[in-house]
Assembly symmetry: C2
Homo-oligomer: 74 residues x 2
DNA sequence: GGTGAATGTCAACTCCACTTGACACTGCAT
DNA sequence: ATGCAGTGTCAAGTGGAGTTGACATTCACC
C-alpha cells in the first residue's frame, strides 16, 4: 500500500464487528434503536449526517470511510 | 496554530462563499434543489449522510468539517 | 438435543428531509 | 430611480428516517 493511497472503505457492520460490539451496544452508545443500526448496516435507508458522525466517532473512523459515495449503493 | 490542532470547523455557507459559488450553482452541482441548500445552510434540518458527502466533495472539504458535532445544533 | 445471545424481519406510527412554485427582500451597479 | 443577481420565506406535498414492539431465525456453546 503506497503512502498516498485513498483511505480504505469499511462498512459500518465490518467496523462494528472488528471492535467486538453488538448491534445493541452500538445502538445504545450513539443513542438510537437497534433497529436503526440494522437498517443502516443493511443500507435500508441513509442515516442523517449527525447520526453518521456519531457512528464514525464511536467506531473510530470517518464518515467518508463508513459511507462510501462512489460505486456503492444509495 | 500547532501542527496537531483539530481541523477547523467551517460551515457550508462559509465554504460555499469562499469558493465563489451561489446557492443555485451548488444545488445544481450536487443534484438538489436550491431550497435544500438554504435549509441546510440555515440548519433547518439535517441532511442525509450522502447529501453531506456530496457537499463535502464539491466544497473540497470533509463531512466532519462542514457538520460539526459538538456544541452545534441538532 | 437445549439454551441464551445476537441478529433478522415485519408492521404501524410520527416526523423529518426534500421537492416544487412563487413571491419578498437585499445588495449592487447604472 | 430601475434592473438584475442572489438570497430568504412560505406552503403544500411525498416519501424516507427512525421509533416501538414482537416474533423468527441464526449462531455458539454445553
Amino acid at each position: 500500500m503506497t503512502p498516498e493511497s485513498p483511505p480504505m472503505t469499511v462498512g459500518v457492520r465490518e467496523r462494528r464487528k472488528s471492535l467486538g460490539l453488538t448491534q445493541a451496544q452500538l445502538a445504545e452508545a450513539i443513542g438510537v434503536s437497534r433497529q436503526t443500526i440494522i437498517s443502516i448496516e443493511r443500507s435500508d435507508y441513509a442515516p442523517s449526517v449527525y447520526l453518521a458522525l456519531r457512528l464514525a466517532v464511536r467506531l473510530n473512523s470517518t464518515v467518508e470511510q463508513l459511507f462510501p459515495l462512489e460505486g456503492e449503493s444509495r
